[in-house]
């Protein structure tokens, strides 16, 4: 397999507090790579660091041979990384169509991309003129993913996409992530709920105190529940 994204020795700080310590990870084309760890382990910070939203003091982030580490944050998505933040962070006052338009504008995509995204999330087509803040939680998550997919990204970063959702909606999200993997989009998935992500994950990296402690194939995680217990505290 080919590495799409390579993160090496990343150090990040919030003020004087170091939150990522030599964080390293390799993402293959089309894989769903899950980051698991306790609250405050550094999973969300790792995604923000990839997006340039938390500056890296050391280390490197390379996307398909292109160094992203020193790029200003608004250039990172243009390189081909899309981000679905924790809590969706939709532009709640804007309509569904306007949220999608923001995504399309990022990399200059047009109607064709919009149509293919709406095919993936047909429910949104009926809601285009609705204010996104008035959508249900599941619909908001769909819109957050749709907005990100409007970039036609090589890499998709998903931060706790199943948070607060019904089981049927979680299954829909898993299905979508799997479909994207088949289309060659690589995903880094941050989750607290192990059961929600293992069915779709290819590999798992356990994160603890700002370090990527161990990366294993998902089969190994299934075979060894103690590993999850050790790093996450629940199974």
């Amino acid at each position: 397999m080919t590495a799409v994204l390579t993160i090496s020795g990343l150090d990040c700080y919030y003020g004087a507090v170091q939150v990522l310590r030599g964080f390293s990870l390799t993402l293959e084309r089309g894989e769903v790579h899950c980051l698991l760890g306790r609250n405050g382990a550094g999973k969300t910070t790792a995604l923000k660091a990839i997006m340039g939203l938390v500056p890296a003091r050391a280390g490197s982030i390379v996307l398909k041979g292109r160094e992203l580490t020193r790029l200003p944050p608004h250039e990172v998505p243009k390189a081909g990384i899309a981000y679905v933040p924790q809590g969706r962070r939709l532009f709640a006052e804007m309509t569904v169509a306007e949220n999608l338009e923001i995504g399309l504008m990022t990399r200059g995509k047009g109607d064709q991309t919009r149509e293919s995204v709406l095919e993936l999330f047909p429910l949104l087509r009926e809601r285009l003129r609705q204010r996104s803040g008035t959508l249900s939680g599941g619909e908001q998550q769909m819109l957050a993913m749709a907005r990100a997919l409007c970039l036609e990204p090589d890499v998709l970063l998903l931060d706790e996409p199943t948070e607060g959702l019904m089981p049927s909606m979680i299954a829909r999200i898993r299905e979508t992530v799997a479909t994207l993997g088949q289309r060659g989009v690589s995903t880094i998935l941050v989750e607290q709920r192990v059961d929600a992500v293992l069915p779709v994950a290819t590999r798992v990296t356990f994160v603890d105190t700002g370090r990527a402690r161990q990366t294993v194939a998902v089969e190994e995680v299934r075979a060894n529940p103690g590993m999850v217990m050790h790093y996450v505290g629940v199974t």
Binding site: L53, P73, H74, F91, A92, M94, I102, M105, T106, R147
Partner: protein, 293 residues
């Protein structure tokens, strides 16, 4: 003059005040809404607009309309460039920290004011109106220019609404306003948007000043009242709300015009300030504003 015509005259004066105030306050409101920066120097951009308008009109000469139209284009542009530079050189370097930017814009206020005093002088100077036409009503004649100020302001407010609501630039500005970090994650260069919005806010104040300077006069201390009234308007209307700004500007402007004519300008200011106090107590986000996220 009978009460009815007297009231009409007061209302017309109030309408002119409202129109200019709406433009000025909209600039302040945009800057706060998008950048979360309280621009204490906003009144000085208004003053600069008037002073530069006098300078341009004096240089151009010829028919007053030519000088006025040149001022209407050149003055906001120069003010916009100054505001853009101030944003890049000062506010951006302070990382838009709310406290630091208030202090910085107070500094800008004094720098701009004293620069105007040094270069322009302490005199109040008029700019001739582009045309002299009196509309003859049955009870009194009224300045056609003053009414054209109302029309021009209304058109500019409509244009601003159109840009914000219907164009990609407006979409980018609104996205930055709602969530700066997410906007960056979608390729929006937030720093450039901030600089553009700060310049646009200052330009709106400058346009308002160019429109008013044939009625009042350009003076280096003329920025105080518009700043105070703009704060009153945006607090009542709701910071960042275009609709709230226009409604509050009309209310304050009309009240100012009518109360000033029938009672005294001081009473008008007292009532406006009381209204602000009531809004701050009972609806701190303003009549049309939203609670801070």
């Amino acid at each position: 003059m009978a009460f009815g015509p007297h009231l009409l005259l007061a209302a017309l004066e109030g309408l002119v005040t409202s129109a200019v105030l709406a433009l000025t306050a909209l600039g302040l409101s945009l800057v706060f809404g998008v950048m979360r920066v309280v621009n204490v120097a906003h009144g000085e951009f208004y003053m600069l607009g008037a002073v530069i308008a006098w300078w341009v009109a004096s240089l151009v000469g010829g028919h007053p309309a030519v000088g006025f139209l040149a001022a209407l284009v050149i003055s906001p542009l120069i003010v916009g460039v100054i505001a853009f530079a101030a944003e890049r050189l000062v506010l951006a370097r302070l990382s838009y920290s709310p406290e630091a930017t208030i202090v910085a814009t107070i500094g800008m206020l004094y720098i701009l004011q004293q620069a105007a005093l040094s270069l322009y002088g302490p005199e109040a100077r008029p700019v001739p109106p582009p045309f002299n036409y009196r509309i003859l009503l049955p009870w009194f004649g009224y300045s056609g220019y003053k009414l054209s100020v109302v029309v021009a302001s209304a058109l500019l407010l409509l244009a601003t609404w159109y840009v914000l609501a219907k164009t990609r630039i407006g979409l980018v500005m609104r996205a930055t306003q709602y969530d700066r970090e997410t906007a960056q994650a979608f390729g929006i260069p937030v720093g450039q948007v901030y600089a553009g919005v700060f310049a646009l806010g200052a330009m709106l104040a400058a346009v308002a000043a160019v429109l008013i300077v044939p009625i009042s006069q350009a003076h280096y201390l003329m920025g105080h009242d518009p700043l105070l009234l703009s704060f009153i308007v945006v607090i009542i209307g709701g910071l960042g709300s275009l609709r709230g700004t226009v409604v509050a500007a009309v209310a304050i402007g009309m009240a100012d015009g009518i109360i000033s004519v029938f009672f005294s300008p001081t009473l008008a200011k007292i009532i406006a300030t009381l209204l602000v106090a009531l809004v701050l107590v009972f609806r701190p986000q303003g009549l049309f504003g939203e609670t801070a996220r």
